[in-house]
Amino acid sequence: MRFLLDAEQQAFAASLDAMLTAAATPAAVRDWSRGAPASGRALWRRVAEAGVFALAIPEAYKGLDPRPVELAVAFVELGRHAVPGPVVETVAAAALLTALDDPGPAERLLPALASGDATATLTLGPYALDADTTDVRLTVSGPTAPARPSEVPGPAAPAPPTELRLAPAPGAPPRPCLDPARRLFAPAPGGELLATGAHVAAASAQALTWARLATAAQALGVGLALLDRTVTHVRQRTQFGVPVGSFQAVKHRLADAKIALEFARPLLFGAALTMTEQDVAAAKVTACEAAYATARTALQLHGAIGYTAEYDLSLWLTKARALRGAWGSPAQCRALVVGGDRRW
């Protein structure tokens, strides 16, 4: 047992970090938010070329075979740089298509996701992220997880069959969100039927697990960026003649943020190694709570400047809040942990 990233994984993180640092992601996020996706798509292609989406896709479909640890490494960097777009959704879509019994949809759609030629969104819940600018819009209707013995009620009505469709473009503009980079649409009904039946529900459960893992990693990256930026700020900003960062109350809030993030990190990589529903849920809730708590601290310690949309900190602040609820609320994730049979 050696629970540490190896040199290759660390180098992968460093290369993504360097690439994204050079790419001026904040401008791309702002473009994306106002519906001008060109700069974001250019960034997307570079992320894809670095192999990020291929980490969720089997070699048979031009991927690098599913490698959750490396995917988590990559998504920490995507979060750290606030990369916009349906990054989690594309991974979730890939996981879903890979897990179907019928390889047809995967053969047709996955190579373009691996290469970055196409982006994807996936709707298991109430909305479709970035549906207008995305190439592949997948919608699952009906039960999205295989029934568990304990959940089967006695004489209940049979559930409708689970269907996977390639949805049409949305008919209405997105509704504004607290994180302006998240462009949420009501899912458009109908579209081509790609698959149906119990295997779609099972594949959706797989997709959910991958989505949560990627979200946890992204949230950890968001939290780390917020902490870094706040540490830099309080070292520079002076009040009452001294750096704000020399006040003990400031120090202790940042120390608490550091603790929360550093204990979320091993949960993330542990979950990437086991990929059990329970481990992933634990990582998701912990990373997201740590990121959100760090956002609250970052806002407070920046003061008014942090409260402005024009200051780049806002890109991470609003994302931290949104990721907390995306792909499973804290309460849902905690319920999976206490409800599970397995103990660590």
């Binding site: 819940g125 109430p126 909305y127 509704r175 504004p176 969100c177 607290l178 994180d179 302006p180 998240r182 949420l184 009040q239 009452f240 001294v242 006040f247 003990q248 109350a249 400031v250 806002l299 407070q300 003061g303 008014a304 409260y307 402005t308 949309a309 024009e310 806002s314 602040l317 609003t318 809040r321 949104a322 609820g325 609320s329 804290p330 309460a331």
Partner: protein, 379 residues
């Protein structure tokens, strides 16, 4: 000790409720942090003022009802329970007006207060500067003597409402050679459309221009618009900090109404048990804040100044407000992401609470040093 309102107070409350029932817009006005919403809220102030409901605790000669603190609290309870619009004139009414009542001249009060009461003139505050946030004493913007008045130059920031407001008030350094940073400051009012004023709106987290930067380049202000003595601005500004302003920055009625709405949302979402404790705490916190304020009002009416106790109040409501809105967003689930709901607008607004009007870190220092008697540290 009692919690029973007099029949006259109850009659006042009933009158307010009836008026609000008849007049409150059935559909929420657009956000007051937009140009359209600002205009709509200004018109609402005029509607309030037409029936003397805009500044109920002011003297009648300036448009109020001279109703006293208790009735003001009752009015606020009814106002928020009715779901009536946010108050676009609040900066003027709760920050500038008390200063004018205490330090202004009769001429200033007669000139400034009536159009403030009607919403004809909306005021922005201009306290902070880029290098003077919590540390207000390090203000740098200057007021230079000129014939018949002063020339203001420098930069103010986080000036709330300034994107669309008419006039502003703040402190300026009129004597750069004084020994202490709190001396040599003058309290002035100025026109945001005067020559030399540039207003740059700043979007808050949701992009709405809730405040602005003000660039001032030799802006002329006549002597009539100095409040109190030149050079005594710090004292003028601080003297009203210990009055009822500490009580009236956030009225309990607002939180009672929000908590009741939260409980309604919780019911509507099927009373999820994992949120029950937080909803209970929101209900309890609103009640605690109401009763705390009633007690503070009674002490104030006995002649006590609020003083450092207002720091308890500030930390409480600002953290309470965030917790309440976080609970609401959690209850909303995926719908909590929308930016165009009352809950999300309230959430964004609440996030500013622990930062402005003296950060909560400063407030806790004050509580520790002035209420508990702990030694001053270097912080």
């Amino acid at each position: 000790m009692d919690l029973t309102h007099s029949p006259a107070d109850e009659a006042f409350r009933a009158e307010a409720r009836a008026w609000l029932d008849a007049h409150t817009p059935p559909v929420p006005l657009p956000s007051l942090e937009t140009e359209e919403g600002f205009a709509a809220h200004r018109a609402w102030e005029a509607e309030l003022a037409a029936d003397r409901w805009s500044v109920v605790n002011w003297p009648t000669e300036y448009g109020g009802r001279d109703c006293g603190l208790i009735r003001w609290l009752l009015f606020e309870e009814e106002y928020h329970a009715a779901g009536a619009p946010g108050r676009v004139g609040q900066n003027g009414v709760s920050l500038l007006a008390p200063t004018l009542f205490e330090h202004g001249t009769g001429e200033q009060r007669a000139r400034v207060l009536p159009p403030m009461a009607t919403g004809e003139v909306i005021w922005a505050q201009a306290w902070s500067e880029p290098e003077a946030g919590s540390d207000l004493a390090s203000l740098r913007s200057r007021a230079v003597r000129t014939a018949g008045g002063w020339l203001l130059s420098g930069q103010k920031t986080w000036s709330s409402r300034a994107a669309f407001a008419d006039r502003a008030f703040g402190l300026f350094r009129s004597d750069p050679d004084t020994p202490g940073p709190h001396q040599g400051l003058t309290y002035l009012m100025f026109d945001l459309r005067a020559q030399g004023v540039t207003v740059r709106p700043i979007g808050r987290l949701d992009g709405k221009p809730a405040f602005a930067e003000l660039f001032l380049d030799e802006v002329f202000v006549p002597d009539d618009d100095v409040i109190g003595e030149p050079g005594q601005g710090w004292r003028v500004a601080m003297s009203t900090a210990g009055n009822e302003r500490g009580l009236t920055l956030r009225s309990p009625g607002r939180f009672l109404a929000s908590a009741a709405r939260l409980a309604g949302l919780w019911q509507a979402r099927g009373r999820p048990q994992d949120s029950a404790d937080r909803v209970a705490d929101a209900l309890i916190g609103a009640r605690a804040y109401q009763l705390f304020t009633y007690a503070a009002a009674a002490r104030f009416l006995d002649g006590a100044s609020t003083g450092p106790e207002s720091s308890l109040n500030k930390v409480f409501w600002s953290e309470y407000d965030i917790a309440l809105h976080e609970t609401a967003l959690d209850l909303l689930g995926a719908d909590g992401e929308w930016a165009d709901t009352g809950w999300s607008e309230g959430y964004v607004f609440a996030l500013a609470g622990p930062i402005y009007a003296g950060t909560n870190e400063i407030q806790r220092d004050i509580i520790a040093e002035r209420l508990l008697g702990l030694p001053k540290g270097r912080r």
